[in-house]
């Protein structure tokens, strides 16, 4: 059940980010200055931490989504094991991403 709750919450969070993200990217059609002014807001320390949360949500939703697909088309017997696989893959992916991202955020 917790995998379902997390899948819903991350899905909604990503959806609202996507709405904003398409609007900010659309500024490339307005002017270089307008785009750079807004994108520099993504490069602050606080937003850097927000990006860690966002990537964490996307990575969980992606791996757990693949787990749902595997359960539906293949076999529900392994759903609990697969949940631990999702957690494990999430930890590994975040270990690859977070240190590198924080260095990029805090060394500029």
């Amino acid at each position: 059940m917790w995998s379902w709750v997390l899948h819903r919450i991350t899905g909604v969070a990503i959806f609202f980010f996507l709405l904003v993200h398409i609007l900010d990217t659309a500024l490339v059609r307005v002017s270089p200055e307008a785009y750079n002014a807004v994108i520099s807001q993504y490069q602050t320390p606080i937003m850097g931490l927000g990006e860690v949360a966002l990537v964490g949500a996307i990575v969980f939703h992606a791996f757990n989504g693949l787990r749902i697909i595997a359960i539906d088309f293949w076999n529900a017997k392994y759903q609990r094991v697969l949940f631990y696989v999702v957690i494990g893959l999430w930890v590994v992916t975040m270990l690859a991403f977070v240190p590198r991202h924080l260095i990029n955020v805090f060394s500029h």
Binding site: S31, Q43, A62, H108
Partner: protein, 150 residues
């Protein structure tokens, strides 16, 4: 929330429809097929924009126009745009069906989701395909270096 839930496995209040297209089934399948494609598109997107080089701190107009001048990234981004918005919009529709209790609330919320999805798909697609990587009269240091060769 005073309406009582029916006992499990009681017969449907309304008889299920027997003919016509089963849209719910196609929606269910779409969530899964688009999900698999989105894993590739989104992980590639995040890797190129946040992991390669200096990641988030290297993002600016010159970086984006360098990508969008290339048809490969144009189609990558447009595919991601359409698949993710329809997947997310359909997912949000499921949540509205689950949590909004009145017919009017469901109607308003689903109309809002549909409007947001359609407007952003049109906007995003126009941006990607009408984009000018080297807009005239702009300071050269804000533009990608290949603009100088023009």
């Amino acid at each position: 929330m005073t309406s009582a839930l029916a006992a499990p496995r009681s017969p449907y209040a309304r008889a299920p429809r027997k003919n016509g297209v089963n849209w719910e089934k196609w929606g269910w399948l779409y969530m899964r097929v688009s999900g698999i494609v989105l894993v590739v598109l989104i992980f590639g997107h995040l890797f190129v924009n946040l992991m390669v080089g200096e990641g988030v701190s290297a993002l600016n107009f010159a970086f984006v126009s360098g990508k969008l001048a290339n048809p490969f990234w144009q189609w990558w981004d447009v595919a991601m745009l359409w698949l993710a918005l329809i997947h997310g919009g359909n997912g949000m529709r499921t949540l509205v069906n689950d949590y909004a209790t009145t017919r009017v609330a469901r109607g308003i919320l689903k109309s809002a989701i549909l409007a947001a999805v359609v407007i952003l798909i049109v906007l995003g697609t126009l941006v990607v395909f009408t984009f000018d990587a080297c807009p005239a009269g702009q300071p050269a240091d804000l533009l990608p270096t290949f603009c100088q060769a023009l």
